[in-house]
Symmetry: C2
Amino acid sequence: MRHRRVLEAAPMEFSELIKTATVEDVLLWRPGLPAVRGTLCITSHHLLLSSRPGGELELWLLIRNVDAVEKRVSGSSGTITLRCKDLKVLQLEIPGMEECLNIASSIEALSSVDSVMMMYPFFHRPPSLRLQQGWHLCPPERHFQRVAAQTSQWRLSTVNSDFSACPSYPAAVIVPAAVGDDTVARAARFRQGGRFPVLSYFHPRNGTALLRSSQPLTGPNRRRSREDEQLLGTILDQGERGFVIDTRSAQAAKQARMSGGGTEPKASYPQWRRLHRALERGRALQDSFGRLVEACSEPAPSTERWLGRLDSSRWLSHVKAALSTACLAAQCLDREGCTVLVHGAEGTDTTLLVTALAQLILDPGCRTLEGFQELLEREWIQAGHPFQLRCARSASSHARGKQEAPVFLLFLDCVWQLSRQFPLSLEFGEQLLLTLFDNAYASAYGTFLCNNEKERSLCKVKESTHSLWAWLNQPEEKHKYLNPLYSHNPLVIWPSVEPQSIQLWQGFFLRWIRPSQHLDEAWLEMRRLVQGDSSWLPESAGKRLSQPLPEPPAGTER
Amino acid sequence: MRHRRVLEAAPMEFSELIKTATVEDVLLWRPGLPAVRGTLCITSHHLLLSSRPGGELELWLLIRNVDAVEKRVSGSSGTITLRCKDLKVLQLEIPGMEECLNIASSIEALSSVDSVMMMYPFFHRPPSLRLQQGWHLCPPERHFQRVAAQTSQWRLSTVNSDFSACPSYPAAVIVPAAVGDDTVARAARFRQGGRFPVLSYFHPRNGTALLRSSQPLTGPNRRRSREDEQLLGTILDQGERGFVIDTRSAQAAKQARMSGGGTEPKASYPQWRRLHRALERGRALQDSFGRLVEACSEPAPSTERWLGRLDSSRWLSHVKAALSTACLAAQCLDREGCTVLVHGAEGTDTTLLVTALAQLILDPGCRTLEGFQELLEREWIQAGHPFQLRCARSASSHARGKQEAPVFLLFLDCVWQLSRQFPLSLEFGEQLLLTLFDNAYASAYGTFLCNNEKERSLCKVKESTHSLWAWLNQPEEKHKYLNPLYSHNPLVIWPSVEPQSIQLWQGFFLRWIRPSQHLDEAWLEMRRLVQGDSSWLPESAGKRLSQPLPEPPAGTER
């Protein structure tokens, strides 16, 4: 059986953390499923529960997925509630007070190990894959080749080959052909974290470009940088105008000057017009996520109370704001024919949210399964979204750091809204978005580890872990993520961003609360229709209402 | 051309109402569509607009569909805004002040004609149908045959053959076999409007029954009726219990005694246990509908404002309450094995809402296209839901009567919620629900005319108008309404009624506001897949964004 493979002896570091490795007679409760009694095992990376007769595996949980552990001891037994990062909630009734406390503290300790190289991806060795497969899905060179086929205005720069110009950028980035690496390196010093303006997307229809960066370090003394001005200046022809979309309010951008940041002043960047579109991030977004998850799990509220809590969570406002800003960027490019630079403060969160969504709206290539994976590689992973910091904790952890924020989830939700409004235009479906969320927060693969390429290189992630893309792109996995209704749509897809059109992503927020089995069946039925294979019609109606849990695949878990 | 057929000379009654029959150079505005200039014609029943070069028909509107007419005159021209019962909004810019006022008052007069036999169904003669076709879709005899195949406890009574026992019941109804027509006739006098308890649904799985009636006329003096007690008494065996589900609050039911109504007192009906589930109806429901439609059409509100307005419309609460009460009735039957009597006050509104929904939940037969039409015939049309009174005006009329209420719309919305939660289990799709709404409010067919069978018989509806079912069941029409994913599900479908699971029916409420073209395409694509016919793939991508209006079919309109 598959779970035997991970029952290897725990390395010293872990064995110290595991105070009790096995408890018999544990009762497992999951919402909507019958309770199961079995043997609980704690290994270095997993929590397993096998039901007793026959030893069938009932639960297979990556301990990294545990967001919060709550324990309640009464008499000679105790109950542990595990709130997982993927929003699943499990309850374990454990005989023996000491065992209960030991198990709880083992899970707490193992789920908080913060050394990247001790994490499960460094130990996970699926037999169907070889290391290094899938790690070169989208090297910057490949993206550049596509741009270079259209225009000679841009070049691939290796100014950051040793990550010295910008520690959160990849080794190669695309910059204007007209500026040399010296100028770029000096411009980098004028941008927070060295994130100088780089090409995010070249719009072939009219030759406009989407750029991203971090804020300029203007500071209270209104510093300028000739090199930064030169870099942005060469992008626009004489008389041409560009737009800077600042993802902060005008006031927040102004206040940022006090702490050394700021905006591009009109006087020094005469061809650029600034637009402010405030997108919340950081703690505000994290709290919004937490409030929505809490509201979703309230049993039997009144409609009034539910709509009140949905509103006060403000999550749908964030979705609307992100989609609107992405539409604005896409409109500037496609309708106004203007080049656009997007940045907020650090340029690693709402900036990437906007540039990635704008590309999905504009570019049919990004809407294929392969193109979407490339987009994620390029605009989130290589672009330096700090996944390790942002996704360390999910909605229910009370020990929140200052760095957590579900920006990536907000992106996935916006993609889901697009897929709902344009059901034929994305080659992938909801299942891919759910899998991406799960893997960003707790994974057997190295793809979302660390905060940027520099850290990944130091930790030898690409040499020592498997790529999630390699796993997903295996034919027997891949078909789960395809949209059976997909048909190539070469047009720009303009979503409706009115609040009346924005819906709660039930498939994510209610995933473990309401049964989605009938919706899943509809998806399967469509796939069956597409494959023209009528041989595996639902066998019996009885099966419909009581499907057994599938054996957990090596990559994901339920 | 098809519209020529209705340009017959108007009968005297109409010609007096039409002050100006034709105006040239009228500009038509519809949300989301380009403006069109053309010739406007007013006929007895239709408003037509033909664009000038070539005379292509651009608009074909049944004047009965007009809910409210707003006019604004300035200088030598005027603008008429037509708010339709199906929530469509049209604007006509008319040269000539007098012409504008004439057109507006003609539309107002023609849309308010209240003589049933002057309505369009009495004039509409589609060549593909013959009169009387489709009128015998579901005679009470047919329903009774099915019950009689299972049990001999019920019989078909003709006590109401001349509509004297109950003017709002059909000529034949199903009553307990053990009571004679004399008893039934006397029991009728103890129920409001004569609506004595009749069989609504027999549950073959365990032989329990769903009954409906109106409130007993207990009054302030706590009157009793031996015959009513006998009728309800014979249904239950010794020691067996039944449930009365009263769709009013306990307080409202008590207050009803002051005006002659009331409830079944425990002392006189010892085997029946009463449950109160307050469902709003009448003005409260009509206002809720109006508020939601207004909120939906607000351009660009904030998410907060939208959710606030959605909440304060209370529409989703009504949906949740209706579904919950139907689930309660279905549970009493299927899980508790108890017979259930449903009534509110008159027994023609929320009562039918609950009995019809409960059958859809319990009985797979009602979930086919044919079965659903039969359910509507049986539980809404023949059961005496007063369509003419309830659907006289829609959401935007300011001249609201006291009798309007969108109870039938609430039913359709609940069916839509079921179809969304169980995407494989209903043989029909959203398009059928929309068509039913449109025809209940303004139709070329006689099916939803009048308030009950007695009135239909007096007006000779079945002899002089075509049946909507005959039209819908023609093969070239029928396929539009089928759910491509349908597969027979023999089980009870228990919907989730948590407010988190109830969604706004965007396909209805946003039908004319947000483009649904991409969702319609997905539906078409699924149908294509099912038919295995790959020959009519979308021809070109350009077509996707600018599909021309299809020529209006004789039955429905856009």
